[in-house]
Amino acid sequence: MAETVPAAQLARPIIEIRHLRKVYRRDRQELTVLDGIDLDVPDGAFEALMGPSGSGKTTLLNLIAGIDAPTSGSIRVAGVEIANLSETSRADWRAHNIGFIFQFYNLLPVLTAAENVELPLLLTRLSRAERRRRVEVALKLVGLLDRMHHTPRQLSGGQQQRVAIARAFVADPKIIVADEPTGDLDRRSAEEVLALLRTLNETLGKTVLMVTHDPHAAEAAKVRRRLDKGQLT
Protein backbone atom coordinates (compact mmCIF):
# COMPACT_ATOMS: atom_id res chain seq x y z
CA MET A 1 0.00 0.00 0.00
CA ALA A 2 1.37 3.43 -0.94
CA GLU A 3 2.19 5.71 1.97
CA THR A 4 2.05 8.89 -0.11
CA VAL A 5 0.27 9.76 -3.32
CA PRO A 6 2.19 12.31 -5.36
CA ALA A 7 0.93 14.04 -8.48
CA ALA A 8 3.02 11.69 -10.67
CA GLN A 9 0.70 8.83 -9.77
CA LEU A 10 -2.02 10.44 -11.82
CA ALA A 11 -0.04 9.83 -14.98
CA ARG A 12 -0.49 6.71 -17.16
CA PRO A 13 1.14 3.66 -15.51
CA ILE A 14 4.44 2.66 -17.02
CA ILE A 15 4.36 -0.57 -15.03
CA GLU A 16 1.15 -2.58 -14.80
CA ILE A 17 1.24 -5.83 -12.87
CA ARG A 18 -1.73 -8.14 -12.52
CA HIS A 19 -2.09 -11.34 -10.48
CA LEU A 20 1.65 -11.87 -10.46
CA ARG A 21 2.91 -15.09 -8.90
CA LYS A 22 6.44 -16.32 -8.61
CA VAL A 23 7.10 -19.76 -7.26
CA TYR A 24 10.58 -21.24 -6.89
CA ARG A 25 10.92 -24.99 -7.03
CA ARG A 26 13.80 -26.62 -5.24
CA ASP A 27 13.82 -30.39 -5.39
CA ARG A 28 10.22 -31.26 -4.51
CA GLN A 29 9.55 -28.17 -2.47
CA GLU A 30 7.74 -25.14 -3.76
CA LEU A 31 8.41 -21.71 -2.34
CA THR A 32 5.93 -18.99 -3.23
CA VAL A 33 7.86 -15.73 -3.23
CA LEU A 34 5.22 -13.48 -4.79
CA ASP A 35 1.57 -14.30 -4.53
CA GLY A 36 -1.04 -12.37 -6.49
CA ILE A 37 0.68 -9.01 -6.82
CA ASP A 38 -1.27 -6.18 -8.49
CA LEU A 39 0.67 -2.99 -8.98
CA ASP A 40 0.54 0.16 -11.10
CA VAL A 41 3.55 2.47 -11.21
CA PRO A 42 2.98 5.74 -13.04
CA ASP A 43 5.46 7.08 -15.56
CA GLY A 44 7.92 9.38 -13.82
CA ALA A 45 7.42 7.91 -10.37
CA PHE A 46 10.13 7.37 -7.76
CA GLU A 47 9.06 4.45 -5.63
CA ALA A 48 10.74 2.53 -2.87
CA LEU A 49 10.02 -1.13 -2.19
CA MET A 50 10.64 -2.06 1.41
CA GLY A 51 10.23 -5.18 3.41
CA PRO A 52 12.06 -7.79 5.45
CA SER A 53 14.56 -10.18 3.95
CA GLY A 54 12.87 -12.85 1.88
CA SER A 55 9.76 -10.77 1.36
CA GLY A 56 10.19 -10.85 -2.42
CA LYS A 57 11.34 -7.27 -3.05
CA THR A 58 14.30 -8.17 -5.24
CA THR A 59 12.29 -10.84 -7.04
CA LEU A 60 9.60 -8.27 -7.87
CA LEU A 61 12.28 -5.83 -9.06
CA ASN A 62 13.89 -8.54 -11.22
CA LEU A 63 10.54 -9.42 -12.77
CA ILE A 64 9.78 -5.79 -13.58
CA ALA A 65 13.29 -5.41 -15.06
CA GLY A 66 12.76 -8.47 -17.24
CA ILE A 67 15.66 -10.53 -15.92
CA ASP A 68 13.38 -13.13 -14.38
CA ALA A 69 10.16 -14.71 -15.59
CA PRO A 70 6.94 -14.96 -13.59
CA THR A 71 5.23 -18.25 -12.80
CA SER A 72 1.91 -16.67 -13.75
CA GLY A 73 0.31 -13.30 -14.14
CA SER A 74 0.96 -10.32 -16.32
CA ILE A 75 3.75 -7.74 -16.29
CA ARG A 76 3.31 -4.89 -18.70
CA VAL A 77 6.22 -2.47 -18.70
CA ALA A 78 6.53 0.51 -20.99
CA GLY A 79 3.63 -0.84 -23.03
CA VAL A 80 5.13 -4.30 -23.54
CA GLU A 81 3.99 -7.59 -22.00
CA ILE A 82 7.48 -8.70 -21.13
CA ALA A 83 6.58 -12.17 -19.89
CA ASN A 84 5.77 -13.12 -23.47
CA LEU A 85 9.05 -11.92 -24.99
CA SER A 86 11.73 -14.30 -26.19
CA GLU A 87 15.13 -14.15 -24.49
CA THR A 88 16.64 -12.15 -27.33
CA SER A 89 13.71 -9.73 -27.50
CA ARG A 90 13.74 -9.30 -23.75
CA ALA A 91 17.47 -8.51 -23.81
CA ASP A 92 16.87 -5.94 -26.51
CA TRP A 93 13.92 -4.55 -24.57
CA ARG A 94 16.03 -4.25 -21.40
CA ALA A 95 18.80 -2.49 -23.31
CA HIS A 96 16.33 0.18 -24.40
CA ASN A 97 14.12 0.50 -21.34
CA ILE A 98 15.89 -0.48 -18.14
CA GLY A 99 18.90 0.90 -16.31
CA PHE A 100 20.32 -1.21 -13.49
CA ILE A 101 21.95 -0.13 -10.24
CA PHE A 102 23.19 -2.89 -7.92
CA GLN A 103 24.20 -2.89 -4.27
CA PHE A 104 27.80 -3.85 -5.03
CA TYR A 105 28.14 -1.56 -8.09
CA ASN A 106 29.19 -4.45 -10.34
CA LEU A 107 31.61 -2.45 -12.44
CA LEU A 108 34.01 -4.36 -14.66
CA PRO A 109 37.43 -4.00 -12.98
CA VAL A 110 39.38 -4.18 -16.25
CA LEU A 111 37.58 -1.16 -17.65
CA THR A 112 37.94 2.50 -16.73
CA ALA A 113 35.01 4.49 -15.35
CA ALA A 114 34.30 5.88 -18.83
CA GLU A 115 34.45 2.43 -20.41
CA ASN A 116 32.11 1.00 -17.78
CA VAL A 117 29.64 3.76 -18.51
CA GLU A 118 30.04 3.12 -22.23
CA LEU A 119 29.20 -0.58 -21.90
CA PRO A 120 25.41 -0.33 -22.54
CA LEU A 121 26.10 1.92 -25.54
CA LEU A 122 28.01 -0.91 -27.26
CA LEU A 123 24.59 -2.43 -27.91
CA THR A 124 23.48 0.67 -29.84
CA ARG A 125 24.44 1.89 -33.29
CA LEU A 126 25.90 5.12 -31.99
CA SER A 127 29.23 6.27 -33.40
CA ARG A 128 32.30 6.17 -31.22
CA ALA A 129 32.28 9.97 -30.99
CA GLU A 130 28.62 10.05 -29.96
CA ARG A 131 29.22 7.33 -27.38
CA ARG A 132 32.09 9.30 -25.95
CA ARG A 133 29.99 12.46 -25.80
CA ARG A 134 27.21 10.67 -23.94
CA VAL A 135 29.67 9.07 -21.53
CA GLU A 136 31.14 12.47 -20.72
CA VAL A 137 27.69 13.99 -20.15
CA ALA A 138 26.74 11.11 -17.85
CA LEU A 139 29.98 11.28 -15.88
CA LYS A 140 29.66 15.05 -15.61
CA LEU A 141 26.18 14.64 -14.17
CA VAL A 142 27.46 12.27 -11.47
CA GLY A 143 30.44 14.57 -10.82
CA LEU A 144 33.14 12.16 -11.94
CA LEU A 145 34.28 13.53 -15.29
CA ASP A 146 37.74 14.09 -13.85
CA ARG A 147 37.93 10.40 -12.85
CA MET A 148 36.85 9.01 -16.18
CA HIS A 149 40.14 7.25 -16.83
CA HIS A 150 40.32 5.69 -13.39
CA THR A 151 39.61 2.02 -12.90
CA PRO A 152 37.07 0.93 -10.25
CA ARG A 153 39.91 -0.06 -7.92
CA GLN A 154 41.07 3.56 -7.92
CA LEU A 155 37.64 4.83 -6.85
CA SER A 156 35.86 4.81 -3.49
CA GLY A 157 32.65 2.83 -2.99
CA GLY A 158 30.54 5.97 -3.36
CA GLN A 159 32.34 6.94 -6.54
CA GLN A 160 31.91 3.46 -7.95
CA GLN A 161 28.20 3.60 -7.28
CA ARG A 162 28.01 6.98 -9.03
CA VAL A 163 29.75 5.44 -12.03
CA ALA A 164 27.18 2.63 -11.89
CA ILE A 165 24.41 5.24 -11.87
CA ALA A 166 25.95 6.90 -14.92
CA ARG A 167 26.02 3.48 -16.60
CA ALA A 168 22.37 2.98 -15.70
CA PHE A 169 21.09 6.11 -17.44
CA VAL A 170 23.63 6.67 -20.23
CA ALA A 171 21.52 4.74 -22.76
CA ASP A 172 18.49 6.85 -21.80
CA PRO A 173 16.22 4.09 -20.46
CA LYS A 174 12.70 4.85 -19.28
CA ILE A 175 13.07 3.03 -15.97
CA ILE A 176 15.92 2.81 -13.47
CA VAL A 177 15.82 -0.17 -11.11
CA ALA A 178 18.05 0.06 -8.06
CA ASP A 179 18.56 -2.90 -5.72
CA GLU A 180 19.82 -1.64 -2.35
CA PRO A 181 21.86 1.12 -4.02
CA THR A 182 23.02 2.53 -0.68
CA GLY A 183 23.41 -0.79 1.11
CA ASP A 184 27.19 -0.84 0.87
CA LEU A 185 27.83 2.87 1.36
CA ASP A 186 28.54 5.22 4.25
CA ARG A 187 25.98 7.87 5.10
CA ARG A 188 27.57 10.64 3.07
CA SER A 189 28.01 8.55 -0.06
CA ALA A 190 24.48 7.22 0.37
CA GLU A 191 23.15 10.78 0.42
CA GLU A 192 25.02 11.56 -2.80
CA VAL A 193 23.59 8.48 -4.47
CA LEU A 194 20.05 9.27 -3.32
CA ALA A 195 20.43 12.83 -4.52
CA LEU A 196 21.47 11.52 -7.92
CA LEU A 197 18.46 9.21 -8.07
CA ARG A 198 16.21 12.18 -7.29
CA THR A 199 17.92 14.13 -10.08
CA LEU A 200 17.35 11.28 -12.52
CA ASN A 201 13.70 11.23 -11.52
CA GLU A 202 12.99 14.93 -11.32
CA THR A 203 15.32 16.40 -13.92
CA LEU A 204 15.53 13.61 -16.49
CA GLY A 205 12.03 12.25 -15.86
CA LYS A 206 13.14 8.66 -15.26
CA THR A 207 10.87 6.28 -13.42
CA VAL A 208 12.93 5.02 -10.47
CA LEU A 209 12.15 1.80 -8.59
CA MET A 210 14.35 1.22 -5.59
CA VAL A 211 14.53 -1.75 -3.25
CA THR A 212 15.91 -0.86 0.14
CA HIS A 213 16.04 -1.95 3.75
CA ASP A 214 17.00 1.49 4.86
CA PRO A 215 14.05 3.72 5.92
CA HIS A 216 16.23 6.76 5.51
CA ALA A 217 16.99 5.82 1.88
CA ALA A 218 13.30 5.12 1.31
CA GLU A 219 12.55 8.70 2.40
CA ALA A 220 14.13 9.84 -0.86
CA ALA A 221 11.33 8.16 -2.83
CA LYS A 222 8.00 9.82 -3.45
CA VAL A 223 6.12 6.56 -2.92
CA ARG A 224 7.00 3.82 -0.46
CA ARG A 225 5.51 0.35 -0.70
CA ARG A 226 5.94 -2.61 1.64
CA LEU A 227 6.16 -6.21 0.69
CA ASP A 228 5.67 -8.93 3.25
CA LYS A 229 5.46 -12.66 2.63
CA GLY A 230 5.05 -12.15 -1.07
CA GLN A 231 2.24 -9.62 -0.89
CA LEU A 232 2.05 -5.87 -1.05
CA THR A 233 0.75 -4.49 2.18
Binding site: D68, F100, P109, V110, L111, L119, L122, L123
Partner: protein, 384 residues
Protein backbone atom coordinates in the same frame (compact mmCIF):
# COMPACT_ATOMS: atom_id res chain seq x y z
CA UNK B 1 35.97 0.58 -26.30
CA UNK B 2 34.91 -2.57 -28.10
CA UNK B 3 34.05 -6.12 -27.08
CA UNK B 4 37.37 -7.23 -28.61
CA UNK B 5 39.12 -4.75 -26.36
CA UNK B 6 37.21 -6.18 -23.40
CA UNK B 7 38.20 -9.73 -24.38
CA UNK B 8 41.87 -8.68 -24.57
CA UNK B 9 41.73 -7.14 -21.12
CA UNK B 10 39.89 -10.12 -19.68
CA UNK B 11 42.52 -12.40 -21.13
CA UNK B 12 45.61 -10.54 -20.02
CA UNK B 13 44.85 -7.89 -17.40
CA UNK B 14 42.26 -9.38 -15.10
CA UNK B 15 44.60 -11.82 -13.41
CA UNK B 16 48.08 -11.25 -14.87
CA UNK B 17 49.70 -14.04 -12.85
CA UNK B 18 47.23 -16.60 -14.11
CA UNK B 19 47.48 -15.26 -17.65
CA UNK B 20 51.29 -15.47 -17.61
CA UNK B 21 51.23 -19.02 -16.21
CA UNK B 22 48.61 -20.09 -18.75
CA UNK B 23 50.55 -18.60 -21.64
CA UNK B 24 53.74 -20.24 -20.36
CA UNK B 25 51.93 -23.57 -20.13
CA UNK B 26 50.68 -23.24 -23.69
CA UNK B 27 54.14 -22.10 -24.80
CA UNK B 28 55.83 -25.19 -23.36
CA UNK B 29 53.26 -27.53 -24.89
CA UNK B 30 53.60 -25.69 -28.22
CA UNK B 31 57.38 -26.20 -28.13
CA UNK B 32 56.90 -29.89 -27.37
CA UNK B 33 54.28 -30.25 -30.11
CA UNK B 34 56.40 -28.41 -32.68
CA UNK B 35 59.43 -30.45 -31.69
CA UNK B 36 57.63 -33.77 -32.18
CA UNK B 37 56.02 -32.68 -35.45
CA UNK B 38 59.42 -31.58 -36.74
CA UNK B 39 61.02 -34.89 -35.77
CA UNK B 40 58.20 -36.78 -37.49
CA UNK B 41 58.51 -34.60 -40.58
CA UNK B 42 62.27 -35.12 -40.65
CA UNK B 43 61.82 -38.84 -40.25
CA UNK B 44 59.66 -39.02 -43.33
CA UNK B 45 61.65 -36.37 -45.21
CA UNK B 46 64.44 -38.74 -46.21
CA UNK B 47 61.97 -40.79 -48.23
CA UNK B 48 60.17 -37.72 -49.55
CA UNK B 49 63.49 -36.33 -50.81
CA UNK B 50 63.90 -39.36 -53.04
CA UNK B 51 63.89 -38.84 -56.77
CA UNK B 52 60.94 -40.31 -58.64
CA UNK B 53 63.15 -41.47 -61.49
CA UNK B 54 65.49 -43.61 -59.38
CA UNK B 55 64.89 -47.24 -58.51
CA UNK B 56 66.85 -49.46 -56.16
CA UNK B 57 67.63 -53.15 -56.58
CA UNK B 58 68.77 -55.28 -53.63
CA UNK B 59 68.96 -58.94 -52.75
CA UNK B 60 65.45 -60.33 -52.34
CA UNK B 61 66.41 -62.10 -49.12
CA UNK B 62 67.69 -59.11 -47.22
CA UNK B 63 69.57 -55.90 -47.55
CA UNK B 64 72.46 -57.55 -45.73
CA UNK B 65 72.86 -60.05 -48.60
CA UNK B 66 74.84 -58.82 -51.59
CA UNK B 67 74.33 -59.15 -55.34
CA UNK B 68 76.88 -60.03 -58.03
CA UNK B 69 78.44 -57.02 -59.73
CA UNK B 70 77.58 -58.63 -63.07
CA UNK B 71 73.91 -57.83 -62.50
CA UNK B 72 74.73 -54.21 -63.21
CA UNK B 73 75.30 -54.66 -66.92
CA UNK B 74 72.14 -56.76 -67.26
CA UNK B 75 70.05 -54.18 -65.43
CA UNK B 76 71.46 -51.50 -67.72
CA UNK B 77 69.96 -53.37 -70.69
CA UNK B 78 66.40 -53.28 -69.34
CA UNK B 79 64.37 -50.89 -71.54
CA UNK B 80 63.86 -47.58 -69.79
CA UNK B 81 67.01 -47.75 -67.65
CA UNK B 82 69.39 -44.97 -68.64
CA UNK B 83 72.19 -45.41 -66.10
CA UNK B 84 73.11 -47.85 -63.36
CA UNK B 85 75.38 -47.32 -60.36
CA UNK B 86 76.12 -49.43 -57.31
CA UNK B 87 77.23 -49.00 -53.76
CA UNK B 88 78.18 -50.86 -50.60
CA UNK B 89 77.52 -49.82 -47.04
CA UNK B 90 80.96 -49.55 -45.42
CA UNK B 91 80.13 -49.11 -41.74
CA UNK B 92 83.48 -47.60 -40.76
CA UNK B 93 84.38 -45.93 -37.48
CA UNK B 94 86.19 -42.62 -37.41
CA UNK B 95 88.39 -42.50 -34.29
CA UNK B 96 85.54 -43.28 -31.90
CA UNK B 97 82.21 -45.11 -32.15
CA UNK B 98 80.43 -41.95 -31.07
CA UNK B 99 81.53 -40.27 -34.31
CA UNK B 100 78.97 -42.23 -36.27
CA UNK B 101 78.23 -41.24 -39.85
CA UNK B 102 77.29 -43.11 -43.01
CA UNK B 103 79.97 -44.15 -45.53
CA UNK B 104 79.35 -45.73 -48.90
CA UNK B 105 81.69 -47.26 -51.41
CA UNK B 106 80.36 -46.07 -54.78
CA UNK B 107 81.13 -46.45 -58.40
CA UNK B 108 82.09 -42.82 -58.59
CA UNK B 109 81.64 -42.00 -62.26
CA UNK B 110 78.17 -43.52 -62.57
CA UNK B 111 77.09 -42.38 -59.10
CA UNK B 112 77.80 -38.74 -59.96
CA UNK B 113 75.50 -39.16 -62.96
CA UNK B 114 72.70 -40.91 -61.08
CA UNK B 115 72.71 -38.76 -57.93
CA UNK B 116 72.51 -34.98 -57.75
CA UNK B 117 75.71 -34.21 -55.89
CA UNK B 118 77.13 -30.70 -55.90
CA UNK B 119 80.77 -29.93 -55.08
CA UNK B 120 81.04 -27.10 -52.54
CA UNK B 121 84.83 -27.36 -52.41
CA UNK B 122 87.36 -29.49 -54.31
CA UNK B 123 86.70 -31.00 -57.71
CA UNK B 124 85.00 -33.91 -59.36
CA UNK B 125 88.04 -34.53 -61.54
CA UNK B 126 90.31 -34.85 -58.52
CA UNK B 127 87.91 -37.38 -56.96
CA UNK B 128 87.54 -39.40 -60.13
CA UNK B 129 91.27 -39.42 -60.76
CA UNK B 130 92.42 -40.82 -57.43
CA UNK B 131 91.29 -44.27 -56.18
CA UNK B 132 92.23 -43.28 -52.62
CA UNK B 133 90.15 -40.14 -52.71
CA UNK B 134 86.81 -39.56 -51.07
CA UNK B 135 84.18 -36.89 -50.96
CA UNK B 136 82.58 -35.84 -47.69
CA UNK B 137 79.31 -34.08 -46.93
CA UNK B 138 79.39 -30.45 -45.96
CA UNK B 139 77.89 -31.21 -42.54
CA UNK B 140 80.58 -33.75 -41.77
CA UNK B 141 83.34 -31.36 -42.87
CA UNK B 142 81.94 -28.69 -40.55
CA UNK B 143 81.56 -31.10 -37.66
CA UNK B 144 85.05 -32.61 -37.85
CA UNK B 145 86.84 -29.56 -39.25
CA UNK B 146 87.88 -31.38 -42.40
CA UNK B 147 89.28 -29.59 -45.39
CA UNK B 148 90.08 -30.69 -48.91
CA UNK B 149 93.40 -32.57 -48.86
CA UNK B 150 92.94 -33.94 -45.33
CA UNK B 151 93.17 -37.68 -44.76
CA UNK B 152 90.32 -39.50 -43.07
CA UNK B 153 91.27 -42.73 -41.33
CA UNK B 154 88.51 -45.31 -40.87
CA UNK B 155 88.33 -48.62 -39.08
CA UNK B 156 85.75 -51.09 -40.32
CA UNK B 157 84.36 -54.20 -38.69
CA UNK B 158 82.57 -55.26 -41.87
CA UNK B 159 85.64 -54.87 -44.07
CA UNK B 160 88.48 -55.42 -41.60
CA UNK B 161 91.51 -53.23 -41.65
CA UNK B 162 92.55 -49.62 -41.42
CA UNK B 163 91.42 -47.52 -44.31
CA UNK B 164 92.63 -44.07 -45.25
CA UNK B 165 91.01 -41.70 -47.73
CA UNK B 166 92.11 -38.30 -48.95
CA UNK B 167 89.37 -35.72 -49.16
CA UNK B 168 89.03 -34.57 -52.76
CA UNK B 169 85.80 -32.67 -52.35
CA UNK B 170 83.22 -31.38 -49.94
CA UNK B 171 79.70 -31.94 -51.26
CA UNK B 172 75.99 -31.49 -50.64
CA UNK B 173 72.88 -32.87 -52.30
CA UNK B 174 70.63 -30.67 -54.34
CA UNK B 175 67.55 -32.75 -53.51
CA UNK B 176 68.72 -34.92 -50.62
CA UNK B 177 69.91 -33.42 -47.34
CA UNK B 178 71.37 -36.74 -46.15
CA UNK B 179 74.26 -36.36 -48.64
CA UNK B 180 75.64 -33.50 -46.51
CA UNK B 181 76.24 -35.99 -43.69
CA UNK B 182 77.63 -38.89 -45.69
CA UNK B 183 81.08 -39.89 -46.94
CA UNK B 184 81.66 -41.54 -50.35
CA UNK B 185 84.74 -43.26 -51.68
CA UNK B 186 85.62 -45.48 -54.62
CA UNK B 187 84.01 -48.92 -54.74
CA UNK B 188 87.01 -50.20 -56.70
CA UNK B 189 89.26 -49.30 -53.77
CA UNK B 190 87.07 -51.38 -51.48
CA UNK B 191 86.72 -54.25 -53.91
CA UNK B 192 90.44 -54.68 -54.55
CA UNK B 193 91.11 -55.46 -50.89
CA UNK B 194 88.29 -57.96 -50.45
CA UNK B 195 88.77 -61.72 -50.18
CA UNK B 196 87.64 -63.69 -53.23
CA UNK B 197 84.41 -64.97 -51.66
CA UNK B 198 82.99 -61.47 -51.40
CA UNK B 199 84.88 -59.82 -54.24
CA UNK B 200 82.77 -58.23 -57.00
CA UNK B 201 79.66 -58.12 -54.85
CA UNK B 202 77.39 -55.15 -54.46
CA UNK B 203 75.00 -53.95 -51.75
CA UNK B 204 72.48 -52.20 -53.96
CA UNK B 205 72.15 -51.09 -57.54
CA UNK B 206 70.54 -47.74 -58.16
CA UNK B 207 69.15 -47.18 -61.65
CA UNK B 208 67.97 -44.03 -63.29
CA UNK B 209 64.94 -44.46 -65.53
CA UNK B 210 64.11 -42.28 -68.50
CA UNK B 211 60.47 -41.83 -67.45
CA UNK B 212 59.32 -42.05 -63.84
CA UNK B 213 55.92 -43.27 -65.03
CA UNK B 214 57.68 -46.34 -66.43
CA UNK B 215 59.14 -47.26 -63.04
CA UNK B 216 56.56 -49.98 -62.17
CA UNK B 217 57.23 -51.77 -65.42
CA UNK B 218 61.02 -51.40 -65.10
CA UNK B 219 60.83 -52.71 -61.52
CA UNK B 220 58.97 -55.81 -62.73
CA UNK B 221 61.36 -56.35 -65.67
CA UNK B 222 64.47 -56.21 -63.48
CA UNK B 223 63.11 -58.66 -60.91
CA UNK B 224 61.91 -60.96 -63.72
CA UNK B 225 65.41 -60.92 -65.13
CA UNK B 226 66.83 -62.56 -62.00
CA UNK B 227 63.90 -64.75 -61.04
CA UNK B 228 64.88 -68.30 -60.06
CA UNK B 229 68.56 -67.33 -59.94
CA UNK B 230 70.90 -67.88 -56.98
CA UNK B 231 70.44 -64.25 -55.99
CA UNK B 232 66.93 -63.09 -56.73
CA UNK B 233 66.39 -59.37 -56.60
CA UNK B 234 63.88 -57.07 -55.03
CA UNK B 235 63.50 -53.80 -56.90
CA UNK B 236 61.48 -50.80 -55.81
CA UNK B 237 61.42 -47.05 -56.16
CA UNK B 238 63.98 -45.16 -54.15
CA UNK B 239 61.16 -43.67 -52.10
CA UNK B 240 59.79 -47.10 -51.22
CA UNK B 241 63.32 -48.30 -50.46
CA UNK B 242 63.89 -45.47 -47.99
CA UNK B 243 60.44 -45.82 -46.47
CA UNK B 244 61.45 -49.29 -45.26
CA UNK B 245 63.78 -47.65 -42.78
CA UNK B 246 61.02 -45.34 -41.62
CA UNK B 247 58.57 -48.24 -41.33
CA UNK B 248 61.14 -50.08 -39.31
CA UNK B 249 60.61 -47.41 -36.70
CA UNK B 250 56.83 -47.46 -37.00
CA UNK B 251 56.30 -48.20 -33.30
CA UNK B 252 58.37 -45.17 -32.37
CA UNK B 253 56.61 -43.02 -34.96
CA UNK B 254 53.19 -44.13 -33.75
CA UNK B 255 54.21 -43.34 -30.19
CA UNK B 256 55.39 -39.89 -31.28
CA UNK B 257 52.09 -39.29 -33.08
CA UNK B 258 50.15 -40.28 -29.97
CA UNK B 259 52.31 -38.14 -27.69
CA UNK B 260 51.85 -35.13 -29.97
CA UNK B 261 48.08 -35.70 -29.72
CA UNK B 262 48.32 -35.96 -25.93
CA UNK B 263 50.22 -32.67 -25.89
CA UNK B 264 47.29 -31.00 -27.65
CA UNK B 265 44.93 -32.43 -25.04
CA UNK B 266 47.16 -31.07 -22.27
CA UNK B 267 47.17 -27.70 -24.00
CA UNK B 268 43.36 -27.77 -24.12
CA UNK B 269 43.15 -28.69 -20.44
CA UNK B 270 45.50 -25.88 -19.40
CA UNK B 271 43.48 -23.34 -21.35
CA UNK B 272 40.10 -24.79 -20.40
CA UNK B 273 40.99 -24.76 -16.71
CA UNK B 274 42.21 -21.17 -16.78
CA UNK B 275 39.18 -19.99 -18.75
CA UNK B 276 36.74 -21.87 -16.53
CA UNK B 277 38.28 -20.30 -13.43
CA UNK B 278 38.23 -16.85 -15.01
CA UNK B 279 34.61 -17.09 -16.08
CA UNK B 280 33.53 -18.52 -12.74
CA UNK B 281 35.17 -15.64 -10.91
CA UNK B 282 33.27 -13.11 -12.92
CA UNK B 283 29.88 -14.76 -12.88
CA UNK B 284 28.46 -11.56 -11.40
CA UNK B 285 29.89 -9.48 -14.23
CA UNK B 286 28.38 -11.87 -16.75
CA UNK B 287 25.07 -11.39 -14.95
CA UNK B 288 25.41 -7.61 -15.16
CA UNK B 289 26.25 -7.73 -18.86
CA UNK B 290 23.29 -9.99 -19.54
CA UNK B 291 21.01 -7.72 -17.48
CA UNK B 292 22.17 -4.67 -19.43
CA UNK B 293 21.12 -6.40 -22.65
CA UNK B 294 24.10 -8.44 -23.84
CA UNK B 295 23.08 -11.80 -25.26
CA UNK B 296 24.46 -15.26 -24.53
CA UNK B 297 26.27 -15.11 -27.86
CA UNK B 298 28.17 -12.02 -26.69
CA UNK B 299 29.27 -13.88 -23.57
CA UNK B 300 30.31 -16.88 -25.67
CA UNK B 301 32.19 -14.67 -28.14
CA UNK B 302 34.09 -12.99 -25.31
CA UNK B 303 35.09 -16.36 -23.86
CA UNK B 304 36.06 -17.82 -27.26
CA UNK B 305 38.10 -14.72 -28.06
CA UNK B 306 39.81 -14.87 -24.70
CA UNK B 307 40.73 -18.53 -25.18
CA UNK B 308 41.92 -17.98 -28.73
CA UNK B 309 44.12 -15.06 -27.69
CA UNK B 310 45.73 -16.93 -24.80
CA UNK B 311 46.25 -19.95 -27.05
CA UNK B 312 47.63 -17.91 -29.95
CA UNK B 313 50.04 -15.94 -27.76
CA UNK B 314 51.29 -19.13 -26.10
CA UNK B 315 51.58 -20.76 -29.52
CA UNK B 316 53.50 -17.87 -31.05
CA UNK B 317 55.88 -17.64 -28.08
CA UNK B 318 56.32 -21.42 -28.24
CA UNK B 319 57.21 -21.20 -31.93
CA UNK B 320 59.74 -18.45 -31.25
CA UNK B 321 61.32 -20.48 -28.45
CA UNK B 322 61.29 -23.64 -30.55
CA UNK B 323 63.43 -22.03 -33.24
CA UNK B 324 66.78 -22.10 -31.37
CA UNK B 325 65.83 -25.40 -29.69
CA UNK B 326 65.19 -27.10 -33.02
CA UNK B 327 68.32 -25.65 -34.56
CA UNK B 328 70.38 -27.10 -31.71
CA UNK B 329 68.57 -30.45 -31.85
CA UNK B 330 68.90 -30.56 -35.62
CA UNK B 331 72.65 -29.98 -35.42
CA UNK B 332 73.01 -32.63 -32.79
CA UNK B 333 70.84 -35.17 -34.65
CA UNK B 334 72.77 -34.61 -37.86
CA UNK B 335 76.09 -34.88 -36.05
CA UNK B 336 75.24 -38.36 -34.79
CA UNK B 337 73.80 -39.33 -38.14
CA UNK B 338 70.33 -39.85 -36.67
CA UNK B 339 68.24 -37.43 -38.72
CA UNK B 340 69.61 -34.99 -41.21
CA UNK B 341 66.47 -32.94 -41.87
CA UNK B 342 65.54 -31.64 -38.45
CA UNK B 343 64.92 -27.98 -39.15
CA UNK B 344 62.56 -25.26 -38.08
CA UNK B 345 59.99 -24.61 -40.76
CA UNK B 346 57.73 -21.58 -40.84
CA UNK B 347 54.84 -23.70 -42.11
CA UNK B 348 54.97 -26.07 -39.12
CA UNK B 349 55.38 -23.09 -36.77
CA UNK B 350 52.38 -21.27 -38.24
CA UNK B 351 50.34 -24.46 -38.08
CA UNK B 352 51.31 -24.89 -34.41
CA UNK B 353 50.30 -21.31 -33.54
CA UNK B 354 47.01 -21.76 -35.41
CA UNK B 355 46.35 -25.07 -33.66
CA UNK B 356 47.04 -23.41 -30.29
CA UNK B 357 44.57 -20.60 -31.09
CA UNK B 358 41.91 -23.06 -32.26
CA UNK B 359 42.42 -25.21 -29.18
CA UNK B 360 42.18 -22.09 -27.03
CA UNK B 361 38.82 -21.23 -28.57
CA UNK B 362 37.65 -24.83 -28.38
CA UNK B 363 38.76 -25.20 -24.76
CA UNK B 364 36.64 -22.20 -23.85
CA UNK B 365 33.55 -23.82 -25.35
CA UNK B 366 32.28 -25.58 -22.25
CA UNK B 367 32.83 -22.75 -19.75
CA UNK B 368 31.55 -20.26 -22.34
CA UNK B 369 28.34 -22.17 -22.94
CA UNK B 370 27.84 -22.66 -19.20
CA UNK B 371 28.33 -18.96 -18.51
CA UNK B 372 26.05 -17.94 -21.37
CA UNK B 373 23.32 -20.33 -20.23
CA UNK B 374 23.29 -19.16 -16.65
CA UNK B 375 20.09 -17.46 -15.47
CA UNK B 376 20.76 -13.76 -14.98
CA UNK B 377 19.31 -13.69 -11.46
CA UNK B 378 21.44 -16.66 -10.46
CA UNK B 379 24.54 -15.04 -11.92
CA UNK B 380 23.85 -11.83 -10.01
CA UNK B 381 23.10 -13.75 -6.82
CA UNK B 382 26.36 -15.74 -7.11
CA UNK B 383 28.54 -12.79 -6.27
CA UNK B 384 26.49 -11.47 -3.37
Amino acid sequence: MTLTNLAVRNAFLRNPTRSVLTVLGVMVTAVAFLFLRTILTAWYASSEASAADRIVTRNAISLTQSLPLSYGSRIAQVPGVTRVTWSNWFGGIYKDRRNFFAQFAIDARSALEVFDIRFVQGSEADFLGDRNACIVGKGLAEKFGWRVGDTVPLFSEIYPGDWKFRIAGIVEGTDDASIANTMYFHWARLNEGLPDRIKDTVGVFTSKVSNANDSPRVVRDIDALFANSDAETHTETERAFRLQFVRGSSAILTALQIVSGVILVIMALILGNALAMGLRERTGEVGVMRAIGFLPRHVRALAFGEGAMLGALGGVLGCLLARPVLHAVGKFAASIGFLSNVSYTVTTALATAAVAAIIGAAASALPAVQAARMEIVNALRRQE
